[in-house]
């Protein structure tokens, strides 16, 4: 019994099948990587787990609860937080206020939300920007802001959609350490990522999606040496990794 069970999910948009018969189980405290070429259905899968889309068939069970018919805001209360591939900061608010919105999901009190948000900003080492407006930040900062905002909702499961994209090597390394620290606090992470080096070092298990289906699943080592994975996505250079 994992914390998240995805059973035979299917979703199509018109004639395009985005996710087809996809199943996976995520155990508590795991870091699972979701990789695959563009259009493989990774973000669609995220959107179904976070109840932004409802699946055509199949079901998602989180923490023993069937999520059928739930709305995105219910999902947050249950303990799932997500970031967006295309970041969605509240541009007219400061960083602290952005994160406070997340913190308000666990408290009504503005003072508590403020101190909780400050804590999270310290954790992600972003507190020196707390007074900057969302519109004044760079893309890399927006990614970190979204992470902080998601963390402030105190989730059990964190869905990260391409948090590494647009970061320079130093920032990536920093984020990797941070994500491990977050996991060590008892959170479960599912990450969609294109940076193979980051995925290989961060994740304990990797699922390769291709055309809406699960193509390969295993440890980073297994996936890197899998012929199908190499053909579909990784390319020859990872065979020897």
């Amino acid at each position: 019994m994992g914390i998240l069970q995805v059973e035979k999910l299917h979703k199509s948009f018109g004639g395009l099948v985005a996710v087809h018969d996809f199943s996976m189980v995520v155990e508590k405290g795991e870091i699972v990587g979701l990789i695959g070429p563009n259009g493989a259905g990774k973000t669609t899968l995220f959107n179904m787990v976070a109840c932004f889309y409802s699946p055509d068939s199949g079901r998602v069970v989180f923490d023993g609860r069937d999520m059928a018919g739930m709305r995105p805001y219910h999902v947050c209360a249950l303990g799932i937080a997500r970031t967006f591939q295309v970041t969605k900061p509240f541009v007219n608010n400061t960083v602290l206020e952005n994160v406070m919105v997340g913190a308000f999901s666990r408290t009504r009190n503005a003072q508590e939300a403020r101190s909780k948000a400050s804590e999270v900003l310290e954790l992600v080492e972003f507190d020196q920007y707390k007074d900057a407006l969302g519109s004044e930040l760079t893309t890399a900062d927006h990614k970190r802001l979204e992470l902080a905002r998601a963390l402030a909702t105190h989730p059990k499961l964190l869905l990260l959609d391409e948090t590494m994209a647009g970061l320079n090597p130093a920032e990536k390394l920093h984020l990797l350490t941070l994500l491990r620290r977050i996991r060590d606090r008892g959170m479960t992470l599912v990450v969609v990522e294109h940076d193979m080096k980051a995925v290989m070092t961060l994740c304990e298990r990797i699922i390769l999606m291709h055309r809406g289906e699960k193509l390969v699943e295993g440890t980073p080592q297994q996936v890197a040496n899998n012929q199908q994975a190499i053909a579909a996505y990784l390319g020859e250079e990872y065979a020897t990794a």
């Binding site: 947050c76 003072q111 900057a132 905002r149």
Partner: protein
């Protein structure tokens, strides 16, 4: 610089970072001025202009609560009309004092707001704005053409309702001088602005800001956007209905064309847009500018150039939208902050907390 940095950080976390605020002083002084004006000025026309300023500041503030949820209402006159008609009809037919009747109108409007809002708020796009116009116009046309409504309610069609004159009767919301109306309108404005301020500082305020900024992100953070839009709408409708009763009692006359018409809806929205919709003090600033100028233009040029005030409103609206799309509030706040920075020492704290890298383009 007397305190160590750690204390400053603690203070910031506790929200005590700002010790000096010019804005508060100005609001306080202006409020106090308004309170003592009737002691020095007895000219009824002058007081009348101030009553209009307060009334439209009140209505605009109520209206802005909906725009804080990112929704544009162009039918708020309908709610004013429902509030005014409810209290006036209860008074005329059953002898219920408007002090009581206004709350029945408010409850009715709260319900109406939720019923209109529920389907419209679930859609994205301009549907709420369109729905609000349609609702107000349908209601106006219906009342204008209905002599006796359902249950035998005498709506009196386009003629409107005359509030029966009772002389000086405070218990019946009627006074023979302008001064009580002046203070009632002032109190209503103060209460509405205060409520808007409290909402903005609370969780609901943060949630409304999040919803109008990005609804998807807001929902991902656990915000039921439809629910919060409906709460904002209901509060706004209740306040507007109370304003409708004040309007009826003050002018002692209410008719569908004025109280429910599109021009009233637009005037309410205009006050908010010019002053700064989605801000706490914006509508009050807008009303301070628009209500007296509109009234004076109407008084001096109304005979020769009827409708000149509408021309003036249109011109102002164009200027504001072109040069200050967020209304007059933002540049004023910025100017205040600049003066504050020079006067107080609170700015030193702020400078320390925003490093050079916090601006776009500073980072590689």
């Amino acid at each position: 610089m007397s305190k160590p940095n750690a204390t400053r950080v603690e203070e910031f976390k506790a929200g005590k970072g700002r010790r000096f605020s010019l804005g508060w002083w100005v609001v306080g002084v202006v409020g106090l001025l308004f309170l003592i004006i009737p002691f020095f000025v007895h000219d009824p026309y002058f007081l009348h202009i101030f009553v209009l300023v307060f009334l439209f500041a009140y209505l605009g503030t109520a209206w802005s609560l909906v725009s804080m949820a990112g929704q544009l209402s162009l039918g708020h006159a309908a709610l004013m009309g429902i509030g005014g008609y409810t209290s006036t009809l209860l008074f005329m037919e059953l002898g219920v004092t408007p002090w009581l009747g206004m709350w029945l109108g408010a409850i009715l409007c709260g319900l109406v707001g939720v019923i209109i809002g529920y389907p419209a708020f679930r859609l994205r796009g301009p549907y709420f704005a369109l729905t609000s116009i349609a609702f107000a116009e349908i209601l106006r046309i219906y009342v204008e053409n209905t002599e006796v409504g359902p249950l035998g309610i005498p709506l009196k069609a386009a003629m409107g309702l005359l509030v029966p004159l009772k002389g000086h009767a405070p218990w019946l919301f009627q006074f023979d001088s302008k001064i009580p109306y002046y203070y009632i309108a002032f109190l209503m404005m103060g209460a509405a602005v205060g409520l808007s301020f409290l909402i903005n500082r609370s969780r609901s305020g943060f949630y409304l800001a999040a919803i109008r900024s990005d609804q998807d992100a807001a929902e991902a953070l656990g915000i039921n956007s439809t629910k919060y839009k409906l709460i904002a709408m209901a509060i706004s409708c209740i306040l507007t209905a109370l304003g409708g009763t004040f309007y009826a009692q003050y002018f002692r006359y209410i008719n569908p064309e004025r109280a429910m018409g599109l021009s009233m809806s637009v005037e309410i929205a205009l006050v908010g847009v010019v002053g700064g919709w989605q801000t706490v003090l914006g509508p009050t600033i807008g009303s301070l500018l628009l209500s007296p100028s509109g009234e004076l233009v109407r008084a001096y040029f109304g005979g020769t150039y009827a409708g000149l005030h509408l021309f003036l409103y249109g011109l102002l609206l164009m200027v504001v939208i072109l040069f200050l799309p967020n209304g007059l509030n933002d540049p004023l706040v910025r100017a205040f902050k600049r003066v504050e920075a020079r006067l107080g020492e609170g700015n030193k704290v702020r400078k320390e907390t925003s490093p050079p890298g916090s601006r776009k383009g500073d980072k590689p």
